[in-house]
């Protein structure tokens, strides 16, 4: 059934049902009395009509086509697709958590509040920050919350004119996007040849209108920003704040802390660094942490400890307010908390060391076969520049498509933008030597195929449920709804 490709509508048969509901035992109000005519559906709603077993088979067959970290190696650079330990799921499924209601009085939810309080403390320790808010539901959401905090801070000092956010040209696209949503003007600065912040370019744009600089360290090229102290001093001297995008935190846990580097605001991705499911596997979580002078601007409610009770404190007049309904994605927090307790300080440090070792191992093995623009010790990920000049007819996209034939999720490609034909590989710490070796062998084999039989790559993938997709047609003339 590998080739199963039906839509649920195609399984539908008029009159078939999966369950029978009893008659309604409360008075049924007339829809027309509650919803204006113009907003009411006219005619039948065409929902699929299927039996329970058909529903189960349909979605099980579709799910068999999924590729995830539970089915194979997933070296997607910048995304930290590390294994999601099953104990996390067990903990999040405890009935005490799943049976919670967000409107429950705090006095009856002490365990959950304690967990959130302690998770915030742990993240503060890992990041070197004063306090965290767990509300943001994703990385970019954390960025937005962090930028709003920066804005509130400047406004509180009468410095509304500080409306410019500086981002390097190697930044994650979400950085300038979040800054724009938060109402800032974006100034892009060039990176040097090693993908680090170009100090002179930075100096040239700092002014009394600088709100802050957004940075990830290690950089998008997987290299530690060695000048971070000088960068922080320059930005602070200009009156700006330093924002840390935690996307690459998996490289430095237990080794270095953003707070110690001079960052004032950070966000972490629990779904990257702290092993909770990622992408389609579950909602994200992007807690935002701040330095001491910004604590009063954090979102409300703040979870505080009063004696031996945990309370939700809304009385924070300078707070930017709520950034998410209720308290954020709580189940994700339980999983991250379980992960941190499972690993301990030593385990987290070792995880980062192993992530760095694994990335360097692959890099060293592949650099004879692919173009490596920056040949030095990397952190948790590294960036290749495709197959190199002599093989320009075979593109990075072709390599990625061919990897699908060998059963691997391809690495991130064409990002960062500052490396031509980029292939960004991040193995994470949880992969064994054997897994890394198998992947390396396949990458080398693909490089050989590119020389001997380029057509094989250009027409890849050959063994997937669908062949190469027409991305241009999909973007220009998308078909967005099913029609018979």
């Amino acid at each position: 059934m590998k080739n199963y490709e039906k839509l649920i509508f195609e399984v539908s048969k008029a009159g078939r049902t999966a369950c029978s509901l009893p008659a309604c035992d409360v008075p049924e109000p007339d829809a027309s009395s509650m919803i204006p005519e113009a907003m009411r559906q006219s005619g039948e709603v065409e929902l699929p009509e299927v039996s329970e077993v058909d529903v189960v088979r349909h979605y099980t067959l579709l799910s068999n086509k999924n590729y995830g970290v539970d089915t194979g190696f997933y070296p997607l650079g910048s995304c930290t697709m590390k294994y999601n330990p099953k104990i996390n799921e067990d903990m999040a499924a405890l009935p005490g958590f799943t049976g919670m209601h967000p409107y429950q009085p705090a006095g009856t939810a002490q365990g959950s509040l304690q967990l959130m309080y302690e998770l915030g403390e742990m993240l503060s320790e890992i990041g070197g920050m004063a306090q965290f808010s767990l509300q943001p539901a994703a990385g970019a959401h954390g960025e937005l919350a962090g930028l709003m905090i920066m804005k509130a801070y400047h406004a509180s000092r009468g410095e509304q004119k500080r409306n410019k956010i500086i981002v390097p040209d190697s930044a994650h696209g979400t950085n300038p996007a979040s800054a724009a949503v938060a109402g800032f003007e974006i100034i892009e600065i060039k990176s040097d040849e090693k993908g680090a912040v170009d100090i002179e370019s930075l100096k040239a744009v700092l002014s009394d209108e600088t709100a802050g600089l957004m940075l990830t360290n290690p950089s998008t090229l997987g290299l530690f920003e060695k000048n971070i102290k000088e960068i922080a001093d320059l930005v602070h001297e200009a009156g700006g704040l330093l924002y840390y995008d935690g996307a690459n935190m998996n490289a430095i846990m237990g080794m270095a802390r953003p707070g110690d580097m001079g960052f004032d605001v950070v966000h972490f991705n629990l779904h990257k660094t702290f092993s909770t499911p990622h992408g389609g596997g579950g909602p994200g979580s992007g807690p935002v942490g701040v330095a001491r002078q910004l604590v009063e601007f954090l979102p409300v409610p703040v979870i505080e400890k009063a004696g031996d009770q945990y309370v939700l404190n809304y009385d924070k007049p300078k707070s930017i307010g709520k950034v998410k309904s209720f308290y954020g994605n709580f189940g994700v927090m339980v999983k991250a908390y379980a992960y941190i307790l499972t690993m301990g300080a030593e385990g987290l440090t070792k995880a980062s060391k192993m992530a760095v070792l694994n990335a360097n191992y692959i890099k060293e093995k592949l650099k004879q076969h692919y173009y490596l623009p920056i040949d030095e010790v990397c952190k948790h990920e590294f960036v290749l520049g495709g197959l190199g000049e002599d093989l320009h007819e075979v593109s990075t996209l072709d390599v990625a498509k061919r990897l699908l034939d060998y059963g691997y999720h391809p690495p991130t490609i064409y990002f960062p933008l500052i490396v031509h034909s980029a292939i960004m590989i991040e193995p994470t710490e949880t992969e064994s030597l054997e897994t890394l070796d198998r992947f390396i062998d396949v990458m080398i084999k693909i490089a050989q195929e590119a020389r001997e039989n380029p057509e094989l790559l250009k027409s890849a993938p050959h063994h997937t449920p669908v062949r190469r997709l027409d991305e241009v047609k999909a973007a220009r003339t998308p078909v967005l709804k099913w029609e018979q």
Binding site: Y414, L417, E471, V472, A475, R476
Partner: protein
């Protein structure tokens, strides 16, 4: 790459064709080629006044999105709806399918732009 004599070129890969005080603005053949198949073009409303070096719109391909930077200051008198409706036109002929027309407020700004020969050389360096 194709260039056309008599046009002005910016380092951001826009071209300008001058007719009196009117300037037709588009992206160069080099730019469309570098972007690949263009799938989306965003243009401003006609009537807006904009300055040289301001971002006036964006082009998106399946592999990248790029801002378009206005090479001359002035009032936008017309935008080319044909390219927003069918972005592929820009790939077919980047010089024929202009993005917008600017009523120039300061034609001396043209002096800061390149001619075809200088632009060709500029692209050679960048490549």
């Amino acid at each position: 790459m194709k260039t056309i004599e008599g046009l002005f070129y910016s380092k951001d890969h826009e071209w300008v064709r001058v007719e009196g005080s009117k300037a037709y603005v588009g992206i160069t053949d080099y730019a469309q080629h570098a972007l690949g198949d263009i799938v989306y073009v965003e243009l401003p409303e006609a009537g807006a006044s904009m300055k040289q070096d301001e971002t006036f719109g964006s082009v998106e391909s399946v592999k990248a999105a790029s801002d378009m930077i206005l090479p001359v200051s002035g009032t936008i008198t017309e935008v080319n709806d044909a390219v927003t409706e069918d972005p592929a036109l820009v790939n077919q002929d980047a010089f024929e399918n202009w993005m917008l027309i600017v009523e120039m407020s300061d034609p001396t700004e043209l002096e800061h732009l390149m001619n075809a020969v200088a632009y060709k050389e500029f692209c050679g360096e960048e490549a």
